[in-house]
Point group: C2
DNA sequence: CGTGAGAATTAGAACGTTCCAATTCGCTGG
DNA sequence: CCAGCGAATTGGAACGTTCTAATTCTCACG
């Protein structure tokens, strides 16, 4: 491979015997150029192995076609689905989104956001790391770069968000358990510094209250939002004096953890303890037992968020309406059959 | 939010009462500047809300600190793990990798690679989409941009790759099944236009041959490398006249599919049919039954690949040694206990 | 054969940074 | 008080593109 210097627009102008302006015009597909000339230019481009320098171009154009996607946990299949939804709409808009992972780390997130800005992104879709404040987005607001939050909103600050109806989802889940005959319920996972946590936990409480579940029969255990956290939550809850017989989990990962921990204790999820998840990731239906979960149409929310940024970019505004996506409960096997109300649960 | 024009280095120079050169120096942390002056500059930067324009800078510097990561299926947790490994090393090198997904689509991959080049990436780690040819990387070779393939290598062409020892892994898996007493074996999933497929299938055949399994007792079924593909493979295989009693699967996703399909037929994975996966994704250990799988230290390979590009970038070369990562079989429950050799399998 | 009116092409000034070379500053020593 | 030196600062060209305004072609028409 010849390590020839990287070709510029002038090189290919010389090669094709035209001016750099002409080449530029061809590059942006202007109809002004005689097809014959355009052909010559395109051939030269191919011959020389020219690669367009978008950085240089943006210097003048001031609008790039890159959109950044900042995600807090690439490892959670849930976020991969979100990404997939977004990509669908960007692809058809001829845009290549750049994804970056923050691993739930605000410091890393700061770096990532900085890097994206420096790169000159036209817009940003962010699923913020735990503990993110509106402050983190001041820079973008200042620079007029559209930001849409996905899946998680901020406590304060006016950053538009696309989120599922967390409260209602949790209400549905809890009501389902109560309808099944459970009277001692738990909510597992999440931390009180996350807005989503409050929304879901509140929805859970709503249902308990509406159905007259006594406060002392409600167990709430905070914990990490992954399998490990779920396992820990269950262990904590079952060692309590008045243990629950069923749980609404912060998300599916936590639910899987809970089921794992149940098995480890020789209890069968669904029969000995009912579990509901949240998010309805693809694995939920394949698990044994299949997980009852609140479905949130992740990919759909991703699409929605993508459309939002696109529109904001076009209308050069930095604000937009929030969007709250519908949720619905997908009943599978992890809550077992209706509980005999005379039976008193398990421990 | 004041939609003030975006500030440049000159604005902050004016603000701080120094020259643009000084600001530039401060920006790159030169020790030449009097600390006092640097302080003034940094304050101005903060006040004005300046964001560095890396595009403009690269115009002169000609080396960026962006590294691209092109992945063929973000949805597969396996690749998310790969990404995580890479990020670990990039993070400590102060580099923010940009990830893009090709969804196993060579056309999309072409777009993505083009976009990354235009963005001026310093190097690329690519897990190529199915059917990718060396041709796809000619551009980068020409431009002297280091490319390292991860997890999949190309049939032809000299693009350095970091891959697991596929052949040996498949051999281990098959040998395990044979040791358990199985005599009619299958290999499920993957397509013959994938190099990995050949490596794994060959390893499988090696073991069969070494242990004297007759050719007519070997079933090979191609299929998609996801759950759906696995289900299809099992269905096909069990409808054959001389059906297998155990299978080595192309990857864990296929293995999960196979187990699903077994259940659907009322067969119990592990007891009625033995299954081995490949990749050992985190879910493998949590599945019921836990999946026996070939572990490949995905994150480790990711790290390795990352180090490779870094080194290539530094030494401005475009070639490097291949790296073949060690594999080992993690035995769990999906192959059941040793098979009674008098028993004749199932169908 | 001259004249316009488009159509097609082009020169040249930006854009925001880096970096070399040149300038100025602050001292020390004579 | 000045020479001289290193430290600190700065001017200006260059990087690869876009875009406006200007120029040159081409050709139909009188």
């Amino acid at each position: 491979m010849p390590v020839r210097e990287k070709a510029t627009i002038l090189d290919i102008a010389r090669e094709a015997g035209v001016s750099k302006s002409t080449v530029s015009l061809v590059l942006q597909g202007s109809g002004l150029i005689r097809p014959e000339t355009a052909g010559k230019v395109r051939k030269a481009i191919e011959d020389v192995g020219y690669v367009y320098n978008r950085g240089a171009a943006n210097l003048r154009k001031s609008h790039s076609n890159v959109i950044g996607m900042v995600i807090n946990d690439l490892t959670n299949p849930f976020f991969a689905e979100l990404a997939v939804g977004m990509e669908r709409v960007f692809q058809s808009a001829g845009i290549v989104p750049f994804i970056a992972n923050t691993a739930e780390n605000p410091v890393r997130q700061e770096e990532v956001l900085k890097s994206m800005m420096e790169q000159g992104v036209a817009g940003l879709i962010v699923s913020p790391a735990r503990g993110t404040t509106a402050e983190a987005f001041r820079r973008m607001q200042q620079a007029g770069i559209p930001v849409v939050l996905a899946m998680r909103r901020l406590r304060e600050g006016r950053v538009p968000a696309v989120v599922p109806d967390n409260r209602r989802g949790a209400t549905l889940a809890a009501a389902h358990l109560i309808r099944k005959g459970h009277r001692r319920l738990a909510f597992f996972g999440g931390f009180s510094d996350m807005v989503v946590y409050h929304e879901r936990a509140d929805g859970f409480r709503d249902a308990c209250e509406a159905h007259g579940i006594a406060t002392q029969d409600i167990t709430i255990v905070e914990g990490e939002t992954n399998r490990k956290g779920g396992m820990a939550c269950l262990d904590t809850a079952l060692s309590l004096p008045n243990p629950p017989t069923a749980a609404v989990c912060f998300n599916d990962a936590v639910a899987f953890g809970v089921m794992l921990a149940l098995r480890k204790r020789g209890l069968e999820p669904g029969r000995d303890f009912a579990v509901v998840g949240f998010d309805d990731v693809v694995e939920a239906q394949h698990y044994v037992p299949a997980l009852t979960s609140v479905s949130v149409d992740t990919a759909g929310l991703g699409e929605r968020a993508a459309h939002s940024v696109l529109k904001m970019i076009q209308s050069r505004t930095t604000r937009a309406e929030d969007h709250v996506g519908a949720v619905n409960l997908v009943v599978r096997e992890s809550c077992g059959p209706d509980l005999d109300t005379s039976r008193d649960g398990v421990a």
